[in-house]
Symmetry: C2
Subunit: 144 residues, 2 copies
Amino acid sequence: MTETTAPEALLRGAGLRVTRPRLATLRALSAMPHAETEAVIAAVRADLGEVSHQAVYDVLRALTEAGLVRRIQPQGSVARYETRAGDNHHHVVCRGCGSIADVDCAVGHAPCLTPQADHGFVVDEAEVVYWGTCPDCARAAATA
Amino acid sequence: MTETTAPEALLRGAGLRVTRPRLATLRALSAMPHAETEAVIAAVRADLGEVSHQAVYDVLRALTEAGLVRRIQPQGSVARYETRAGDNHHHVVCRGCGSIADVDCAVGHAPCLTPQADHGFVVDEAEVVYWGTCPDCARAAATA
DNA sequence: CGCATGTTCTGGAACGAGTCAAGATTGATC
DNA sequence: GATCAATCTTGACTCGTTCCAGAACATGCG
């Protein structure tokens, strides 16, 4: 009932109903950050038994709209979800294996929020994706 | 035969064959930056007549691998392509209509290339997407 | 505690971007 | 001009995601 697991409070606070699939989805996401949809479905099923994929898709969308989870989808990857929402952090994506790691904003608070020429756009968010090679893949490439 | 249109030289320089569909694709992309695949196909067909979508997909992939065009794909959008490749610029995407504009790198040369904690990743590129509202959509929202 | 109500889950089908495979065609080289 | 290999055509197909209709469920009130 503290920080680690208060999914019920989170759901209620967001004005969402508290249901088994939603709790299981939140648990799954906090246990495995950057999980792709299929993995979430598998985790929820391992937790509850049979759950339709539709339910999970629906839950994920509801949670995303409520701001409880964040949807990320680097190029060439399927949709992934994470629970760290609203703290303006970014991601490093491995070109080799597609793994993702969290990175705090590079230059401070929201540096990227002020592009040079904004073409009249009202910018409200900057999203940064770092592309590179993860330690494992770098090691594999070095030995190969 | 100068800078504006030397697609042939570009293709040859990249070691690619010079074919009708490839030239038409390059022309289409330079005429309409950030074009999505479907629009590219339409433009190529308007130029050459019947061309299979498979050919365009293949051409776009070949050009992307050769570094002649860059593939971008903001969340919730289909793949788009642009000819400005290799100059480390970024994009502003409108949440309303999905339009995209170019933005030069915010803090200088390649600032974003040094995240705080890199988790051991070897980062070779930073991709920034600014989310906001374009002038048109902002105006529409203000009057509404 | 029991009921009415609106939301949520189930199951199945549909959709669209992108991919695969095999054969015909075309550009590059000699 | 002939030959070879890269490229295009055709058509089917996969995969992630979404839509639809009906049954099940959580919630608030009497």
